[in-house]
């Protein structure tokens, strides 16, 4: 589904490249964890596959088509959903409006379907009353779950998440990762999570470690 072909990235000089010739493949219905030490470039890699930035060399392919050719805005709009560590919800909206807005922007097949959005929010424990309250009145865990529902409702086949559990406690972390697993296993999406937490990596189907400018794929060790 998603493939990197000889991609490399550097800020100023090629000699100081974060990595080069990266060739990875991501399949639908699976969860992937990208792990590595701080500053290794895992978030940058995520931004490349999410279409937030362009690789210095090589290309990212979505179903065999280079995302540059699809158009990065178009790619983000139709094929990929992003979940951030700091949730990045619209603070002037309710949880429900956040979901509805994302659905409207991305032309989700459920665009404008309020009942669907409420139903999706209730699945993660946010009832109708809570869904209509401003998101800032929700806890961190609840806000992250709203962010995940927002990604779920956008109908994108690829979901990328940057340290989604970074601000959550153990219980919320487990519940969040379970949500991602449900996205992959029940809805057939390709979920790629950047994390530095081994526990999160363990819960994913595959782990890709970025170490010494090299990506190494490891089989998941299921708990």
């Amino acid at each position: 589904m998603l493939e990197t072909k000889d991609i490399g990235y550097w800020y100023d000089h090629q000699a100081n490249a974060l990595y080069r010739n990266v060739n990875l493949q991501f399949a639908e219905g699976k969860t992937y964890a990208i792990v590595g030490s701080s500053g290794s470039g895992k978030t940058t890699f995520l931004s490349l596959i999410a279409g937030l930035d362009k690789p210095s060399e090589g290309e990212v392919l979505y179903n065999g088509r280079a995302i540059n050719k699809i158009g990065l805005t178009n790619y983000r709009n139709k094929y990929v959903s992003i979940v951030f560590q700091s949730y990045n919800l619209f603070t002037y909206m309710s949880a429900l409006d956040n979901v509805l807005t994302a659905m409207a922007i991305t032309n989700s097949q459920h665009k404008g379907d309020k009942e669907y959005a409420i139903d999706m929010l209730s699945k993660i424990g946010i009832d109708q009353d809570m869904a209509k309250k401003n998101v800032q009145r929700l806890s961190g865990g609840q806000q992250q779950r709203v962010a995940i529902v927002r990604a779920m409702c956008c109908d994108a086949k690829v979901v990328v998440a940057d340290e989604p559990t970074g601000n959550l406690d153990e219980t919320n972390t487990r519940e969040t990762i379970e949500l991602f697993q449900e996205l992959a296993h029940a809805q057939g999406k390709c979920v790629i999570i950047v994390t530095h937490e081994p526990e999160v990596a363990k819960m994913c189907d595959e782990t890709i470690e970025l170490k010494n400018k090299e990506f190494t794929t490891k089989s998941a060790i299921k708990a």
Binding site: L46, A50, L52, Y75, R76, I82, F90, M93, A102
Partner: protein
């Protein structure tokens, strides 16, 4: 149209910011509206001034050429010879579309026979210049009477009457239908002193000795300011009798039949005075006759109005430019504060123009409220500002007019009669010989007219114009502030 919904939610949720922006935009729009209102009011007032102030063009003998001829003459007995205007020519000129009305005037003097003229303190009988210099034309006689006979085609077209300086208090004024009759309109004081009323008959004697019986058809009252002069008896406004111009000609002699001393044309549009003069000159012998315009009232009204209009125009543009800059700076700060929101929108694949459109929609919603506030407040600001401007401008104009009047007051065209004393041609004669009295009167009239005409009422058109300015201001502000949005990269905002 999701950006509209986002804009609405944002405006609704961020009440403090919305209120602040509403106040800023209201203040900007209020001053823009005040400027627009004053500008529109000044334009309307200038248009109205054309109607109300009017301008006159006088056709009379070319005195300059007559004096030149007199000076170059080698004859010992020098006598100023002024040509009389043909009524037929005057009527031909008056058929022009530029003319609203016209007044044929002929002045002469006569002596009271069946009543007594009002006597003034000291009389200088050697002074031969009648009001406005008209008695100069009575070249048939060297002696002068104690009454001024002002022959007109209609008193209503005489500037003293049309400006309100003189008022008919009883009976009626002279009409064009009085041509050929011996009807007369006399001054109230003269009537009172001699127990004359409307319907009475009075007798006068021409300077050549012929007696005439006149029928009083009306009594007028000269304004108090006009009767303060001293001089010859006939220069006292109370001793001025208004008759049909045909009667004045009869008094002067048979050779004056079908002529006039001068003809005053009232123009329908003062701005067309020069065009009319060109037209009139093509129909007359300019060596013998001259055409002079008097649009001082119109000009005295137009000058402050143009100044006000120019000032208002500057207010509109300065406030609009300053407002755009202020608003752009506020929006730039607002956008900086909302970088994450923009980043999320971009990461969701929202197009940049829709992000900009959201900000525009937010400002548009705020502008609607601001328009209402500005519409209410702008009227008061505009009214206060226009009053201040009118006050300043009329003071400046009055001072300027007074100075100009004093400098031209000594022109040697004879007369020295108070304004209106010379009848229909008082405006031109007042300007050239009578000093600044007429111009000051015009200035005071224009001042009051200006104040009353400069109405700053808010109408739909002004609000539409304001809406246009408002839209332009927010559009430019958003565009300026959006330069930042165009450069924003979602990765740099969201992933650090």
């Amino acid at each position: 149209m999701n950006f509209m919904n986002r804009a609405f939610l944002n405006v609704k949720a961020k009440k403090g910011r919305t209120l602040l922006l509403t106040l800023v935009l209201s203040a900007i729009l209020m001053f823009v509206l005040a400027g627009i209102l004053i500008q529109n009011a000044a334009t309307t007032a200038a248009e109205n001034a054309k109607e109300s102030a009017g301008a006159t063009v006088t056709l009379s003998a070319n005195r300059e050429n007559a004096f030149k001829k007199l000076n170059s003459s080698s004859s010992k007995s020098k006598k100023l010879s002024l040509a009389s205007v043909s009524v037929k020519t005057a009527k031909k000129i008056a058929s022009s579309s530029y003319i609203k009305s016209y007044n044929i005037t002929t002045s002469t003097t006569a002596n009271a026979k069946s009543f007594d003229a009002i006597e003034t303190s000291s009389s200088n009988s050697s002074m031969s210049g009648g009001p406005g210099g008209k008695s100069n034309s009575s070249s048939s006689s060297n002696s002068t009477g104690d009454l001024t006979i002002s022959g007109v085609s209609a008193t209503s077209t005489v500037s003293s009457f049309s400006s309100g300086s003189y008022k008919i208090t009883s009976g009626r004024g002279i009409r064009s239908s009085d041509a050929g009759t011996n009807n007369v309109v006399i001054e109230k004081e003269l009537a009172k002193e001699n127990n004359i009323s409307v319907g009475s008959t009075i007798k006068i004697k021409s300077t050549s000795g012929t007696k005439y019986t006149l029928k009083v058809v009306g009594i007028y009252k000269a304004s108090s300011t006009s009767s303060t002069s001293t001089g010859t008896m006939q220069s006292d406004p109370s001793n001025t009798l208004y008759t049909a111009y045909t009667f004045a000609n009869k008094l002067k002699g048979s050779k004056y039949s079908g002529t006039a001393d001068s003809v005053v044309f009232n123009l329908s549009n003062p701005a067309k005075a020069n065009k009319f003069i060109k037209y009139a000159k093509s129909l007359i012998n300019t060596n013998k006759f001259s055409v002079s315009k008097d649009d001082s009232t119109y000009q005295s009204m137009l000058t402050p109005l143009n100044n006000i209009k120019s000032f208002a125009n500057k207010i509109v543009w300065l406030v609009a430019i300053a407002g755009t800059i202020i608003l752009a700076l506020i929006i730039i700060l607002m956008i900086r504060e909302r970088r994450y929101e923009i980043g999320v929108l971009l990461s969701l694949g929202e197009k940049r123009w829709k992000v900009i459109a959201q900000f525009f929609a937010e400002m548009f919603m705020i502008m609607i409220v601001s328009l209402v506030i500005a519409g209410i407040g702008g009227k008061f600001v505009g009214s206060a500002l226009s009053k201040q401007l009118v006050s300043q401008q009329t003071t400046t104009t009055a001072t300027t007019t007074s100075t100009t009047g004093n400098s031209t007051g000594g022109a040697p065209s004879g007369g020295g009669a108070p304004s209106g004393g010379g009848g229909g041609n008082s405006a031109p004669s007042g300007k050239s010989g009578g000093g600044n009295m007429m111009t000051t009167a015009a200035s005071s009239t224009s001042s009051s007219q200006l104040s009353s005409q400069l109405s700053t009422d808010v109408d739909i058109l002004s609000l539409a114009e304001l809406g246009g300015f408002g839209l332009s201001i927010i559009f430019l502000s958003i565009m300026l502030a959006s330069i930042g949005i165009m450069r924003l990269e979602p990765k740099k905002i969201l992933i650090s």
